[in-house]
């Protein structure tokens, strides 16, 4: 496991990034990591600890917790082809990227075309390691570099909720990617550079609200996936974590969330952040548009006020980064 995982999540991201940017990863470490990645599925470290499928199935409480987590994670937004009136969670939504077009998969419990046949261990491995049941790597259009920090218990609640939904028969559409990105095994290199698996580690020196906010932002909400600028290979630049980008999804401008005055949220009150996450309204009475509208409507807007306040607490405590996006 990468050493940096022992540190706090943001700090860990930063320290990893600097090391990665210098390209000074020791060869031995590379080789070890390589070995781990090539380990046959289900036998080595990559196999997530199975929590065990119970005969009685998940409880109603687990399902309702899972529903809340799915809202926090915004799963529906990508896994529903809303434009073509697709069924919720049945996939098929096109995600256009510089590497080609991804089509999101069906995550309803249909056995033939969805994830109905998956075990708990397979689900955990997909979410936390980015590895499919057949052992192949997922493209990081699926934000597992963030989801890896989701607690296993939360991940299983998510599975419980998804499995409580009506199964929808909807074949997955293969991605349409440019060469060489179409070569899935090459992801092994991408993962070496940009994927840092590991759990979320609470910071005992910080408040409960900060820790909750950090977990929601870093892991479940995967905010960094859109709000962090990326390298030409599509990896997040950790030194600019949440500092915004002009090259967001569909070419949208994605704002700087760090509390820098002038380029970030420095002038926003916590209640301003909560209002935005709930209603999409900015303090200047302009409203957010594009992908963020979906994120809010798809679940963020339904979260408890305490969780939204926790997100605001965490964002306010970020180190301010001067990084101008937009015009």
């Amino acid at each position: 496991m990468p050493r940096a995982d022992a540190a706090g999540p943001a700090g860990a991201l930063l320290s990893r990034g600097r090391r990665g940017a210098r390209g000074a990863v020791p060869a031995g470490f590379l080789f070890l990591f390589w070995l781990l990645l090539l380990w046959p599925p289900g036998t080595g470290w990559a196999a997530a600890p199975a929590a065990g499928d119970t005969a009685s199935g998940p409880s109603a409480i687990a399902i309702s917790r899972g529903r809340y987590l799915v809202e926090a994670g915004g799963c529906a937004a990508c896994h529903t082809d809303a434009k073509d009136h697709g069924q919720p969670f049945a996939g098929g939504r096109a995600l256009k990227t510089p590497f080609g077009t991804f089509y999101t998969p069906n995550i309803t419990p249909d056995r033939a075309t969805g994830i109905g046949g998956w075990s708990d261990a397979q689900f955990l491995r997909a979410l936390k390691q980015g590895i499919a049941p057949d052992g192949s790597y997922y493209y990081p259009a699926f934000p597992y570099p963030s989801f890896t920090r989701i607690r296993a218990a939360d991940a299983l609640d998510i599975k419980a909720y998804l499995f409580s939904l009506p199964p929808v028969r909807h074949e997955n559409r293969p991605h349409d990617l440019r060469f060489p990105f179409s070569l899935r095994p090459l992801l092994v290199f991408w993962r070496l550079l940009y994927f840092h698996p590991g759990d979320f580690h609470p910071d005992p020196a910080r408040s409960a609200a900060w820790n909750r906010g950090a977990y929601l932002v870093i892991a479940l909400g995967h905010c960094g996936e859109c709000h962090t600028p990326r390298t030409f290979l599509g990896g997040m630049k950790p030194a600019l974590f949440l500092a915004g980008t002009n090259k967001g999804p569909e070419g949208e401008i994605v704002p700087n969330l760090t509390p820098d005055r002038g380029t970030g949220l420095g002038d926003w009150g916590q209640d301003d952040i909560v209002t935005l996450l709930k209603t999409g309204m900015k303090p200047d009475f302009d409203n957010v548009q594009g992908a963020m509208t979906e994120v809010i409507r798809g679940g963020l807007g339904q979260l408890d006020d305490s969780d939204l306040a926790a997100i605001a607490t965490y964002l306010h405590a970020l180190p301010p980064i001067r990084h101008k996006v937009g015009h």
């Binding site: 949208e252 401008i253 209603t279 309204m281 200047d284 009475f285 302009d286 548009q289 015009h327």
Partner: protein
């Protein structure tokens, strides 16, 4: 003789081209003028609503300015359709062409804003800060409803 025709023809072409070009430029200038005008109007609306929000949050005192701000939003809301002449889109504008293909929907969203802004004026005059806050949210939603359908997300040019 032939040369004369050629020169005359070329001259005509240049003349026609020049006129056409100036017409196009004039149109583009007009379009930009109306775009700037409506963007300024939207900014004024935002500022007026922010001023009311300050009262709701207790950061400013309720007074005649509160009513005035609400009235500004109301009168502006009535002007909006006239600031969207057909196809008035420039590179600086985020307006979507759907405005003109779905003009009825666009107008209907604007009349909803007018209704809600009129209510805001009413509650602002009554002076119940709590009611003002609630109606402010409704007005904000009315603005957002139109933006969401008819305005592009912000992109880098």
């Amino acid at each position: 003789m032939r040369m004369t025709y050629l020169v005359a023809g070329a001259g005509m072409l240049i003349l026609v081209g020049g006129v056409a070009a100036s017409v196009t430029t004039a149109r583009a200038d007009d379009a930009q003028a109306v775009v700037t005008k409506r963007q300024d109007l939207m900014k004024t609306n935002g500022k007026s609503l922010q001023a009311i929000l300050k009262v709701v949050k207790g950061q400013a005192a309720y007074g005649p300015d509160t009513v005035k701000a609400a009235e500004t939003v109301l009168s502006n809301s009535k002007e909006i359709p006239s600031l969207f002449p057909k196809d008035s889109i420039t590179p600086k504008s985020r307006a979507k062409p759907e405005i003109w293909t779905h003009w009825d929907v666009f107008k209907q969203k604007d009349s909803n804003l007018q209704i809600q802004a009129a209510k805001l004026v009413e509650v602002a005059k009554a002076g119940d800060v709590k009611a003002i806050g609630a109606q402010l949210q409704v007005v904000g939603k009315a603005c957002g409803a139109c933006h969401e359908t008819f305005r592009q997300p912000e992109k880098k040019q």
